[in-house]
Symmetry: C2
Subunit: 242 residues, 2 copies
Amino acid sequence: MAQNIYDREDFFAGYSQLCRSVEGLDGAAEWPALRAMLPEVRGLRVADLGCGFGWFCRWAREHGATEVLGLDLSEKMLARARAAGLDAGITYAKADLDQLSLPQASFDLVYSSLALHYVEDVMRLFRTVHQALGSGGHFVFSTEHPIFMAPTNPGWVIDAEGRKTWPVDRYLVEGPRTTNWLAKGVVKYHRTIGTTLNALIRSGFTIGHVEEFRPTDAQIAARPELAEELERPMFLLVSVRR
Amino acid sequence: MAQNIYDREDFFAGYSQLCRSVEGLDGAAEWPALRAMLPEVRGLRVADLGCGFGWFCRWAREHGATEVLGLDLSEKMLARARAAGLDAGITYAKADLDQLSLPQASFDLVYSSLALHYVEDVMRLFRTVHQALGSGGHFVFSTEHPIFMAPTNPGWVIDAEGRKTWPVDRYLVEGPRTTNWLAKGVVKYHRTIGTTLNALIRSGFTIGHVEEFRPTDAQIAARPELAEELERPMFLLVSVRR
């Protein structure tokens, strides 16, 4: 059973103030890169694992998806998603990604943004997603990058020459990481890129594209604070096909 | 044109003393993991890109490969490989992996151990390997892990709590890295895992297995100094199929 951190008042209050919560998809620096990895969604049946406020569900419908299922563990997130407007083509439902079941061959695209690092057993989830997709179906997701998640102390260190460095340790020690992001005691699961990709391959997927997110020069020019993202990757973006 | 560092006296003298140079494949901690990713070599036509002293070429012949082509840029390495014994099934030849050409569909397995990080244009090399393999052919290689290669100062830093950390910076800034390993001014090319995998996919390969090398518990028990390898990965191992 995954930790339901998003329903904790302190976490939810902090999360609600993030750029990506206020502005939606365009408030997320990695969205253009992730969007470029999506198939044309027109006519597709879509599931969004960890849909949060429903930004992607609405985007998919606006771009012609026939039906969209938005799943999240957080009641608060789902309530906010539902409050954003009714759409007969979107269904929001509560689900724990560590215990998910989905009907067979019922989706053409499964999407997930920054939710898989809360999942302990990705092998189980990937198999569930695989059987839920029709032949040729797409699975596109972002997750925290293991370089970002591995360290005992995940924060910048200024070295003797004044350089910003990211103190990687325990990269090959997989398992839970407890951090204090927005609230104390947030539990995430660290996995290497290899482990994630091999679990996808063993689930029957073909790897299509793997991107360690790098802000574009234009993004850095517009938001100079993004320059530090060149030092270590924060997000891993993956697209695979059944 | 790749730098021919192995033919420099100081580098060659240092390299010749490494465990993997003296003991061969069994002196390389990652060999069992890489070997597990190989197909059965019996009956296969094999090419080894960056064959060094020829340890793998001889291993492949001992395990039934019908013909083996060992390629290296270093005359010193090739001379040592040839001196290790004549075998009508092994051909050693000089080649620069940045300018390599190989006959079409002429191999069943292309292997490369710790050579690709010296290659500037992997896209060109992957296309060359792809066309040189028959349908279903295997390409299995190890390369320095980008976490290992990225930093401006690639060395351990002891943090305030006495913890060993690896100071990652410039991970998303790809390109040459000059280090002083065994000799001054060794030039390697830093690429993210994503860049390597996407180049393979765009060359027509299907990703089969991706491993960020972790010494086994038994290896650490036998050689306790390997424990630090859990903090950050040194090697990336990949197998793909045409």
